[in-house]
Symmetry: C2
Subunit: 347 residues, 2 copies
DNA sequence: ATCAATGAGGTGAACGTTCACACGAGGCGG
DNA sequence: CCGCCTCGTGTGAACGTTCACCTCATTGAT
């Protein structure tokens, strides 16, 4: 019955080593101003007692901030999940800790509830602002502690330039590129199965992918069909896309992400329409599975992991201005043509 | 330029409300022994100053522990991701915070590095022990702070009963069920594309899915082919499975998870083998996309989210013995027959 | 009228760190 | 030989809470 005896503190180590608590602190933090002999004594005491520093006490006492909280609505979505991975990697490299807090979309939490999630006032925070709960959290933190927050989301180049707390990729442009590609293939127009927008009570949230798609169609003088709204899940997408695959006039569908695209492929198959013969399908995000569907999915690659890393770097800069502002260096979204897209069938 | 003035503390509120700091604490924590008038004064001061409690200070001062750290090697894997979701939901319902720390498989971190990840000694921790780094972390924590840790992993009923810190599902049994199903369909034997095992320097880690599969074959007196080892990624699986799909003798493959199964479907397609006509494929985990592949994947459903929730409940019980031990109540793994499995082709 | 019980609130220490400073011992230049 | 700088180390106060205990009214029963 290993009794859970209290963990050793810096004072216990100090007593055992015959030095002051401050000297122990210096050793632990690698200060140069401590004699080699003393250091050894302290180190020995540390291993003997199994001492490990308490990070809570460290931050409380005003030591350097070494934690970041990620606010997101859904870690099962590929984008947020990959970005989280990037944040975590970058944080780990610097020995920062990562805390995640999931925003419940169904929940009617007040603004106070959102900030109550943070471990303390001024906690460095990264928000995945791709949907309504995220946009809302973004606004709350922008009002509360703008200097210690960064938001990740899809944004145009202008928005990015105007908001120093913003990190993201211009996926409107990427959607435009994909749409243009489909038109060039000979399709009269392109339909759009859309992910939920972040519009709502809070300004700034828009459907960038849908906008890029619509812009290209307008510029090309093509009819702009009403985008078909879908939820985030494959099941919802499968239901939503039915009218589209049933309509023989529809020859090309740009999907808001790869999961929606998979649902579309499935629906097309069940409706007896061949892909890409009768129907071209383009996804978004280059989710790992997309290269292995049959036929393999044409999609738009996005390096979310790098964006996550960039968000972390930017946050460090914003929290501590002595750290230089990072220059965003991740690749632009890029169309990856695989097997689900091709010229429309001859009439 | 909203100067980041220091956040209000409990003392500031006390001063403004004309009471002691302790009274503020009582109000914040909803103690009944405070007069209504006083409470109102305090609440007013709180909103006026925008006070929010500092969770770090709270835990430091010996308040109830309200955070849990999750140690995992890979959040992009469906199992850990879903379990994490379950943990997070359960934690959120109780206003606990969740911290995640990713174990780098490539990293040669020492045992000390692993526990250095924890915010403090005795931090309640849940470990995803499905692979080598996870098993290792499990062992370290078991040695260090057994009373404040819980591990999630695939285990047999006996192992579960023997280890009070263990939560999981018997996926060996599920693999057995799937194998039996394929044999009953008429296949002479079943091949296995295996996920990495957790065996290695640390005992206890085994390949439960592979064991369940092999056991059924032996019991049925069928040849037990060498399992084909694959990495976790789809790309690795695609490479690993090539010899299997190229071999016309192989008529049924049980895959270690749905991603491996997808790779197998793709490889089979490219090798000109029809599914399920020439080759039956069964996956594992019932990953969301699996119902929407073409053909739809036969797989084994596992309710990882419930397991995550169960792990959290068990952890609470272990940290605070006044909380009753939860009874594991999640559904057993269950075979879901869809379209990738069928009787072997006639010779 | 007295006394115990109860309700409302205050006081001081503790949690485990870091920060700002103070202090003595050598070394070195003048 | 004196003053000053640097090195190594110690002292005490903070950080923002909670905990354990104390005090002072008020109440109600005896």
């Amino acid at each position: 019955m290993a009794q859970a005896k209290k963990a050793a503190s810096i004072w216990d180590v100090a007593r055992l080593a015959g030095v002051s608590h401050q000297t122990v602190s210096r050793v632990v933090n690698g200060s140069p101003r401590v004699a080699a002999a003393t250091r050894d004594k302290v180190l020995e005491a540390i291993t003997e007692l199994g001492y490990r520093p308490n990070r809570l006490a460290r931050s409380l006492a005003g030591g350097a901030v070494e934690s970041v909280t990620v606010l997101t609505a859904d870690i099962s979505l590929y984008g947020p999940e990959a970005a989280l991975r990037g944040i975590e990697k970058a944080a780990r490299a610097l020995d920062w800790s990562v805390q995640i807090s999931v925003l419940d979309p169904a929940d009617t939490h007040s603004d106070a509830d959102i900030i109550a999630r943070l471990p303390r006032a001024g906690e460095p925070t990264i928000i995945m602002a791709h949907d309504e709960p995220g946009m809302r959290a973004k606004q709350v933190l922008l009002d509360t502690q703008p200097q210690a927050m960064v938001a990740i989301g899809p944004y145009t180049a202008e928005e990015l330039a105007a908001s120093p707390w913003l990190v993201g990729m211009d996926d409107g442009k990427a959607a435009a590129e994909a749409t243009r590609y489909l038109l060039d293939l000979g399709h009269t127009t392109v339909h759009h199965l859309a992910i939920p927008t972040s519009t709502g009570t809070f300004g700034g949230g828009r459907a960038h992918r849908a906008e890029g798609w619509a812009r290209v169609l307008r510029e090309a003088g093509r009819p702009v069909p009403e985008p078909v709204p879908s939820g985030w899940t494959i099941a919802e997408a499968f239901k939503a896309v039915q009218p589209l695959v049933a309509d023989p006039e529809v020859t090309a569908i740009l999907c808001g992400n790869d999961h929606l695209a998979l649902a579309t492929m499935r629906a097309a198959h069940l409706a007896g329409r061949s892909v890409p013969g009768d129907l071209s399908i383009v996804g978004f995000d280059n989710t790992p599975f997309s290269a292995y569907t049959t036929p393999a999915l044409t999609t738009v690659n996005q390096d979310f992991e790098s964006v996550g890393r960039g968000a972390f770097e930017l946050l460090r800069h914003r929290v501590d201005s002595s750290i230089p502002r990072p220059v965003p260096g991740w690749p632009e979204p890029e169309l990856i043509v695989r097997e689900t897209s091709g010229p429309p069938a001859e009439h």
